[in-house]
Symmetry: D2
Subunit: 411 residues, 4 copies
Amino acid sequence: MRVKDVKKVVLAYSGGLDTSVILKWLQTTYRCEVVTFTADLGQGEELGPARDKALLLGIKPENIFMDDLRETFVRDFVFPMFRANALYEGMYLLGTSIARPLIAQRQIEIAEQVGADAVAHGATGKGNDQVRFELSYYALKPDIKIIAPWREWELTSRTRLIEFAEAHQIPIAKDKRGEAPFSVDANLLHSSSEGKILEEPWDAPDEIVWQRTIAPMDAPDRVTEITIEFERGDAVGINGERLSPAALLTKLNALGKENGIGRLDLVENRFVGMKSRGCYETPGGTILYVAHRAMESITLDREAAHLKDSLMPRYAELIYNGFWFAPERRMLQALVDESQKSVTGTVRLKLYKGNTIVTGRQSPHSLYSMKHVTFEDDQGAYDQFDAQGFIKLNALRLRLGAMAGRRGGAL
Amino acid sequence: MRVKDVKKVVLAYSGGLDTSVILKWLQTTYRCEVVTFTADLGQGEELGPARDKALLLGIKPENIFMDDLRETFVRDFVFPMFRANALYEGMYLLGTSIARPLIAQRQIEIAEQVGADAVAHGATGKGNDQVRFELSYYALKPDIKIIAPWREWELTSRTRLIEFAEAHQIPIAKDKRGEAPFSVDANLLHSSSEGKILEEPWDAPDEIVWQRTIAPMDAPDRVTEITIEFERGDAVGINGERLSPAALLTKLNALGKENGIGRLDLVENRFVGMKSRGCYETPGGTILYVAHRAMESITLDREAAHLKDSLMPRYAELIYNGFWFAPERRMLQALVDESQKSVTGTVRLKLYKGNTIVTGRQSPHSLYSMKHVTFEDDQGAYDQFDAQGFIKLNALRLRLGAMAGRRGGAL
Amino acid sequence: MRVKDVKKVVLAYSGGLDTSVILKWLQTTYRCEVVTFTADLGQGEELGPARDKALLLGIKPENIFMDDLRETFVRDFVFPMFRANALYEGMYLLGTSIARPLIAQRQIEIAEQVGADAVAHGATGKGNDQVRFELSYYALKPDIKIIAPWREWELTSRTRLIEFAEAHQIPIAKDKRGEAPFSVDANLLHSSSEGKILEEPWDAPDEIVWQRTIAPMDAPDRVTEITIEFERGDAVGINGERLSPAALLTKLNALGKENGIGRLDLVENRFVGMKSRGCYETPGGTILYVAHRAMESITLDREAAHLKDSLMPRYAELIYNGFWFAPERRMLQALVDESQKSVTGTVRLKLYKGNTIVTGRQSPHSLYSMKHVTFEDDQGAYDQFDAQGFIKLNALRLRLGAMAGRRGGAL
Amino acid sequence: MRVKDVKKVVLAYSGGLDTSVILKWLQTTYRCEVVTFTADLGQGEELGPARDKALLLGIKPENIFMDDLRETFVRDFVFPMFRANALYEGMYLLGTSIARPLIAQRQIEIAEQVGADAVAHGATGKGNDQVRFELSYYALKPDIKIIAPWREWELTSRTRLIEFAEAHQIPIAKDKRGEAPFSVDANLLHSSSEGKILEEPWDAPDEIVWQRTIAPMDAPDRVTEITIEFERGDAVGINGERLSPAALLTKLNALGKENGIGRLDLVENRFVGMKSRGCYETPGGTILYVAHRAMESITLDREAAHLKDSLMPRYAELIYNGFWFAPERRMLQALVDESQKSVTGTVRLKLYKGNTIVTGRQSPHSLYSMKHVTFEDDQGAYDQFDAQGFIKLNALRLRLGAMAGRRGGAL
């Protein structure tokens, strides 16, 4: 980005040291007006201090935007994703990935509102988040200018960053002077930790890494039993109490945390081409994932479920890579949402020291037919003789193959 | 099957009451020679009593076949399947499904050896196992005759079965007189329980259902740490000790059992069109699944891994449905096996009260590059500026769409 | 089906000899009331004679149902399928498959209207049509009784069929006394021929097989140029003239026929497990397929198009196998339909002796950007330097692989 | 690339004006030793003049590499791709895409042989070819330096290019002074034309664009009948005459050309994010594609064929995008190759004015069973009654759904 090109920029601003340095660097480098946007996505920090700091750094009050996006986040991003049972690389519940498009969307809305011609974010040049932010920006406003300071500036060491902060009177909390031993991202769905002391994949993560959950070993030695109620694919209540999306996830997080549920130590493949190691805590999301699958197990038709499962890896990859606002994600979402119309009912679970154990599921739309499945006399619901024709025609191509010399499915 | 058509039949014979009744029923109904085949697949029962009982029921010694197939089972069936990380419906490790083709294969081999024109099995007409047996029979010997007594006979109640047994001097163990409260299948990979008291999916399974594992709640409150060594996709050792496939799985089963690992209570979709509820115990397999994924996480290329993941549901479905000996399974296996050439190394795990926790992975073929991923100065291994072009070209189609009026990926 | 069980049956009745025999056979065998349903799907036959014949065979006037379903057929079945570019086994436009669910749906509607407890069709026991009819019946009315005479009766030779007809005073057209040299199905989308003289796949089909198209060799040696107008994925006009769905397909059929377009001689795989050879004529559909793809080529986003393409084989298979009224078809349709919102515009084609040649496409929603693609100076629309970063990050995993000893993508 | 970094570069050199300018530009800009590599891939040009021109431009004889790669090209690249029936976006036979990895591979081999540290190509910064070349380079030699002059230099107009050529005594053919009206790539598989006069997708291509085929309208009004013989998925002969891969494709090209076969006018989606319009001529490849599908139609199992078809779009995309030397392409190739073991036999075709018409297929490994498919009495090969059980169990889930209130596959 050429320096003279930018008039006004909307910065995704956390109030922390790094984005405060970015704020000042934007002012001094681009000499443009800076608008800050700080969102409450459930990361567990007050927004007030961010406002104070923005003011201190010279941002005009009308240029400070703060939003509580927790309900939007869960209702319009987390829940649609959970309808798909999305797991990246078989394991990861995509807690960081799913928050980025929402932040980007709000930045663009603000940019249009205040007439800004640029947006900026604090993600580094090696990670996935830069991609997620910028693909979203471009998809929503194709002529937007994007500033990614970590890819541009010269503040490539902690020392230089601190020097810059001191030179510009940016307050530095005592514990931020040194390098953090790892990097953290958090929102209502999860916390992630990566980098530095976590870089060696043979070393177990130190216990200090985990901030959102008790270890299974430290969780109480008692079972907590809960029910989760679903409507059309989304969780709507816990233990019979109806809750808003964010309230529900908050409560599941508390339940997961105290029962040591939702930790994941993973080496994953980034979109930018390298492997990285992350430690994720998704306490409520882990419970929700298990419960949603159990709810689907009695309400979804077999082929509907298998079709969803076959497309899930693609869907998860899209979200991980930052393509939330892409046509193919919308098409897959249409398919997934179509499947959820009858995913209504109740799941009962036991939570215990890291385990989420399904103990019951029921639904007014259940496809489970005790009459058909029973080992007892089914009074003619199912004619066992049908199985013979079913098998014989399924076998026909295999038999014709074997007759043609290709035994056992040889090609 | 017309009664007069069968000369000699090879029966999959367990020595239990049901297959003993089948044995006698075959003799009396088809008036054909009966050959029994009893396999040790690690179900945890001695083969001797089955031989004695077959002799007692009038089977000629040369018509009694007994095989210890445990190594074959794990090496040629379980391990290839685990290379694919196969999970049916996102959860089930396919313990019963994977054993059927091996039993069928051996029955057909024996049929060809002894000149039998038919085979028989003891699976019911509502389940998947009949399909798995018979598809395998037909694929291996297309002109084989198949007798499925449960679909043919009149012994449709327990009372009539017992009467038939008594009428034919078949010994009945005391505890077999009444109905079993549920039905069990077991082999070295797992135990499954289903039917009767398990038929209501809202009711939690009674603790007596679980035979192969301690409950997480009953497992000792201490961590067991182990390593598993892999070569080309297969586990070859535990804690540095090299083990044969069956010995390795046996040891993992013991480790899983005592740590409460591997229980699953699932409503699944059968190939024959109904939903059913099963309780599965796969102690060693659960550990192996987690470890194999962790091994792949540092040794598989991203797109190789994603391609595998996208095909896994199809592969698992094939095995569940009984298509082990089908061309499409062989094609997928070729793809999967091609991917495993460098899946070699060691994974470290903590086992604790139902949890299998990865704490480290290392490999001589690791694709994890600390030099690239590091938050520290990478000395030029990765040029952050490349990310800009990468993002911009990935965004181009989205920007062109937005310019054409389709913001945010609208279609 | 037990004979005494049926009270009233709705028969898919064409008025031809075979279904007339079925009609009478139902009356004599099941001693039930017969309701006939005859549909105009564009097969090119008048419905009047079928009514006369039904009356002659003793059907009460209120039990004779006749419908012109041509518009419904094209609008609600053919067009949705063409949105998906469905080709079975890479070649077949599914002309027979797509008509069956509509006939079945109407039969069930009539059954509910007249209080019939059964339906009957004239499809044989070896083909796909029985499956398509019956899956549709069951999906729409799960307790319906189904009679499939060709699987039940003893009239297994032509001679016996004729004898039965004569014995029951069924009029027999002179040219129907002998065996037809092949079997035909026709509707507004296509004609298919199979069986008898077509059974040897090494023999070219005799010219008499083709009834719906001129041979390319016989087509006039001149080019016909047309335009087809599309809206939201469906064709709505030809040469600027707006046409109803059926009128449009009728006109395309005429254009295709006279230009020798739309013949296909194929060996395909039936759902019931065998291969069969069919000769298909889909003159208008072939033109429509080519035009629709061309329309999409400038209006669909790349990944939207690729996602559709990757799911098309599954979608086509579902329709071929008879799963139109299945949840997974509805889910895929939701995905496909979502993609078609901007598939609006005009395609220009040359028709010439079997060839359908695209010569132009334009759209108000075109994503084709001459500014970006131009070999001329693009005035900064595209920064060629971005390509370097794009390539380098796409290459990163390959480079890391090669550095780890896996050159050229070795595994 | 920093100018001083390069010692010796291997240039993909055609002998034409553009790559001659590149040659000289490399010498003057990088002041490095230039090694030229010119391949005969069947583009229809002599290699001699390229050698002369390289000498004239000061390349040392030992630095001039010329290879006839036609057999390698067809055997190791074209044929493996045709085993997969690869069509990009449903239409394009990938003629340009498949040649790039071979050229890149040979450049890297030469670089290693002569100790070069860099390679260079003449592809532009907007196209796919740069990606295909560079991904291949990186995958084969991860530390190679890559020079892409079109992305780097200042010769952005034809005038400046000509000026540079004149200033450096590069001979300019008279017809190269002006701008070419479109850009061409050719090899034994195809010719492609794009750019300039072809950029408006509503305009039909001028006839001068087509260089490799006669128009269907100009082709002779007579049918040419041929047979193609296949072994294990590859064509090995024409009309009973065994031919090497390149000889076979050459002959098919001649047959296609004179019968007006293989033209395609397409708007496609480039990997770099834009749509482009190309005119492709693949005369022999089009015939081969149709013949290969016909050969598979009687030799491939249904599910093997469907699995291939479902993965084909992914495979084609990989090749189009330049990922020939990637693990996922190798995995898919393993799957595809596994399927081709019995794809052996003969296909008979009629070629006529743009049409390739299958008229017969036969194979020693045919899975087509006349005994099963026949409309005549099949003497018990197929029991029509089996169809009832087959249908009923396939319908069971749909019936259970309808009973639960979800008629017709509603969700």
